[in-house]
Amino acid sequence: MDQPVTVAIIEDHPVVTEGVASWIRSDPGQRVRLVQTARDLTGLRAVPPLRADVVILDLELSGELVTKRIPGLVAAGYRVVAFSGHSDPTIVMETLDNGAHAYVSKDEGRDHLVEAVLAAAADRPYVTRSQARAMLADQRPARPALSQQERQALLLWFQGMSKESVARRMSISENTVRQYINRARAKYAAAGRTAPSKDALLARAIEDGVIRPGEIMPYMSFARSAADRPSPGAPGQ
């Protein structure tokens, strides 16, 4: 990584902005550079030399939920990483559906925010535990069909295991664990409303071999209900 990734923070609480800035500063590789902070969406400047690659967006600005503003940011060419105190799965899903690259809850910030920003800058998926939870909890009829392995990897990750432990548990490599989780995320990028950020995530996932174009199918409820069936050897069989 030659050039550091540029980032803007939109957050109405200065103390949180300060905390995020300190996480960015303490990154050993100095891979992210903070170029702008703003307390609301109108404060975002799009002047080229200081134009941020990624926007860290607090979802609640001055008491108002701004998930509906994400498509506007995405259309303006920003990659959005939502950073929020909310962890309600429906809000997480709405955020991703509106085209955010990743969702980081405020509890997860220290461990995941900088990594999520870096992944977003490269249009790669980054799945936090709160995101995994929202995918597992998703009951919408239009949800994408996840394979049993993808669900299991998501479940163990949500439960709090490290990726290494998930790999041991599933008797696969850590790389394959990432692949399953990222593939589940890519399927979500292919579902729901269209957004340039979702297309970019998908294109990158195909390029990286995370998902094959044939696996991105429009939603099929029958495939999904087949994937929900327990495997042979599950309890009760």
């Binding site: 962890s87 799965p89 509890d107 939870r133 929202a134 597992l136 909890a137 998703d138 009951q139 479940l155 163990l156 949500f158 439960q159 709090g160 295991m161 490290s162 290494e164 432990s165 041991r168 548990r169 929900d228 069936r229 327990p230 599950a234 309890p235 009760g236």
Partner: protein
């Protein structure tokens, strides 16, 4: 719910029977009474055809009104639409009758009044009174137009007293019967509720007894040992036993309130003691969770207590819906392997130790 439904149905059944009786009365009156008089006096009318058409219009309105009231209480719009149609038709019929003989050959007044009773039966009493007054006024106006004589006025008052009196009496009677049916239903309901309360009290009593027995087995000996001085509170093993018993006591208290999502509630209660020790416990649930039966919940919370007691600084508990059941998992820095309860009551427990971190999953399936 189980107590309310049959009584509501009972009261509803009575009301429907009263409605049906009124429908029969009104239809019979219009066909036999009004229809009969119309045919009998057919030569007296200026235009029998016009009277016949008015009779048909009223018959249609009565049919529509019957359908409305049998489907349930009609709204004011539909009820008054029927009422206004019969009022207009009956007044037109009266106006087209030969002057001077109007009262003698008038078939429509009674029918219109009964139709009003039918559609306004279960609306405010004042509405029916307004309707009957309007009907009487319309007849009186027709008579005044024709030229009012003293004998006519006496006839008018006689018919008014007879027909309107009967109509008001029927409406009042149905209201009284409705009220009686409602009271009977309420009595049955309160009796059923009392029975249900008694059954619940019995269940609670049994659950309390079971909890008391469980405490006798585990907590009481420990308290006895502490009191006798045979257990040393300075001994880490004794402290762990105390922590486990404290967590169990909290869980037993939490078990008494049967709230939806009681498993989450009980896990919170189990986490409480660990949190007092300075262990950060997060509890997260993914998706709408199925109800887990009491004995299975106890196996799961037993595992939670064992793990949380051993946790040093952090623990994460998650609940997620899986095929035909629920997966409750624990990740905690226990440092060493924890003795977990055996599989029981449909709950299978698996675990994996990675360095100082323990992962364990209690999975309950309904099959």
């Amino acid at each position: 719910m189980t107590a309310v439904q049959p009584t509501a149905m009972m009261s509803g059944r009575y009301q429907r029977a009263f409605t049906l009786a009124v429908v029969f009365l009104v239809v019979a009156w219009h066909v036999a009474g009004a229809g009969g008089q119309l045919l009998h006096d057919r030569s007296a009318y200026g235009s029998f055809a016009f009277q016949g058409v008015m009779w048909l219009v009223m018959a249609l309105a009565i049919t529509a009104g019957s359908v409305l009231v049998l489907r349930g209480a009609p709204g004011w719009r539909s009820a008054w639409a029927v009422a206004v149609i019969v009022l207009a038709a009956s007044t037109a019929a009266a106006a087209a009758s030969p002057a001077g003989q109007m009262l003698a050959v008038n078939w429509s007044w009674g029918s219109a009044g009964w139709a009003g009773v039918l559609v306004l039966l279960r609306r405010r009493f004042g509405e029916l009174a307004w309707f009957l007054a309007a009907e009487a006024l319309a007849v009186l106006s027709v008579q005044a137009w024709d030229g009012l004589h003293r004998t006519d006025l006496a006839g008018f008052l006689a018919v008014l007293a007879w027909s309107t009196g009967a109509q008001v009496a029927v409406a009042a009677g149905v209201r009284a019967l409705d009220a009686a049916a409602g009271q009977a239903a309420a009595a049955v309901r309160s009796e059923a509720a009392a029975r249900e309360r008694a059954a619940t009290a019995e269940l609670i009593q049994a659950a309390r007894h079971a909890r008391w027995l469980a405490l006798q087995e585990s907590a009481a000996p420990l308290v006895a040992e502490l009191a006798a001085g045979t257990a040393d509170p300075g001994d880490p093993q004794v402290r762990i036993r105390c922590a486990v018993q404290a967590a169990r006591l909290r869980r037993l208290l939490a078990e008494s309130d049967e709230v939806p999502g009681s498993l989450v509630h009980e896990l919170h209660a189990s986490a409480d003691v660990a949190e007092r020790r300075g262990v950060a416990v997060e509890i997260e649930a993914a998706g709408p969770l199925p109800q887990v039966p009491g004995p299975a919940r106890r196996v799961i919370t037993d595992a939670a207590i064992a793990i949380l007691t051993a946790a040093r600084s952090q623990a994460r508990i998650t609940l997620a819906t899986v095929a035909a059941g629920i997966a409750v998992s624990f990740v905690a820095d226990t440092g060493s392997v924890v003795r977990l309860p055996p599989a029981h009551e449909g709950v299978a427990i698996e675990h994996q130790q990675d360095g100082g971190m323990l992962w364990a999953e209690a999975r309950w399936t309904s099959r």
